[in-house]
């Protein structure tokens, strides 16, 4: 793979967590009701925490799956080299 392309893509992925989350379209899930700001604030933080926890779980699952696929890829390449040598 082109090294420049790879480093550009890596930079993009590393920059993604810094991206500001977009506001909700209708506010149902994120925006607290008017006049209930004080009581709604902890609920929002809890929701954000849960969301980031789910995201990290999905990311870790993908990391494991990706590492497994990478390992299979390398093993297949080794077998192909052996077959070509014969």
């Amino acid at each position: 793979m082109n090294k420049r392309l790879l480093s550009a893509a890596m930079a993009l992925v590393l920059a993604l967590p810094l991206a500001r989350p977009a506001p909700a379209m209708d506010g149902i899930a994120v925006r607290p009701a008017s006049g209930a700001n004080e009581t709604a604030a902890p609920a929002i933080t809890e929701k954000d925490d849960a969301l980031s926890r789910v995201m990290w779980v999905v990311l870790v699952v993908w990391l494991g799956l990706g590492a497994y696929l990478f390992k299979i890829d390398r093993r297949i390449a080794r077998l192909e080299r052996k077959i070509d040598e014969r």
Partner: protein, 221 residues
């Protein structure tokens, strides 16, 4: 193809965009984040079934044997298509529980995907029943061509003909994606990531099939 390795970049990007960047949709709340996994899975299943059907046509038309390994390609693609259709059904079922109150409602969309899964399950039965027979490749390829012809009716036509709770698919009659810009970006990145994953897995399976064939030809070397 080296480009399929971009899945290692796109998949984490899709996850981060789905959870951190994309906003929640009206009425659906946080459950709308399922969109970035359910829709790409459904898209990949359609793509995989189309690729398997096209590869089957190439296999049937290829009299001179110019495309060795194409039989493995259509079989591997049909396997991946069935797997992703199952995952799309499972994710859709979870979404149905959250939105409609029940995992299974026999909605036209759910019924049509079950029929499609049964059609492709019959393909695997047919192929395994013909193991070791010379007509195996041609018969299974012919079946896949018929299955590919039927597939668009179950995916795109049936849910529109009958009254369905399922929202309009992303590929809708006016060919426009009705989403906010941030949601659209997250969905497009997710679609690319899942498509790359499909092509990467297909490539791995095809290479594995080639190795197995080579080992069967010369088992004692």
């Amino acid at each position: 193809m080296a480009i399929t390795r971009l899945v290692y970049i796109f998949m984490p990007a899709a996850v981060i965009l789905a959870f951190c960047y994309a906003p929640t949709a009206a009425l659906l709340g946080e459950t709308s984040r399922l969109l970035y996994f359910h829709v790409p899975l459904a898209w990949v299943s359609v793509l995989a079934f189309a690729v398997s059907g096209i590869a089957a046509i190439v296999f049937l038309a290829d009299k001179r044997g110019r495309f060795p390994g194409i039989e493995d390609s259509f079989h591997n693609s049909a396997s991946l298509g069935t797997l992703t259709a199952l995952l799309a059904t499972a994710s859709g079922s979870v979404w149905a529980k959250l939105m409609w109150g029940s995992y299974w409602n026999w909605d036209p969309r759910q019924t049509s995907i079950i029929i499609l899964l049964l059609i492709y399950s019959a393909y695997f039965s047919l192929r395994s029943a013909l193991a070791g027979k010379p007509a195996r490749g041609r018969l299974s390829a012919a079946y896949l061509v018929i299955a590919m012809t039927v597939m668009p009716f179950f995916v795109f036509v049936v849910p529109r003909v009958f009254l369905s709770l399922h929202p309009d698919p992303v590929i809708n009659p006016d060919m426009k994606i009705h989403l906010e810009t941030e949601m659209r970006l997250a969905l497009i990145v997710s679609l690319v990531a899942f498509s790359l994953l499909y092509f990467y897995l297909l490539e791995l399976l095809n290479r594995l099939s080639r190795i197995r064939n080579a080992a069967e030809v010369s088992p004692h070397e």
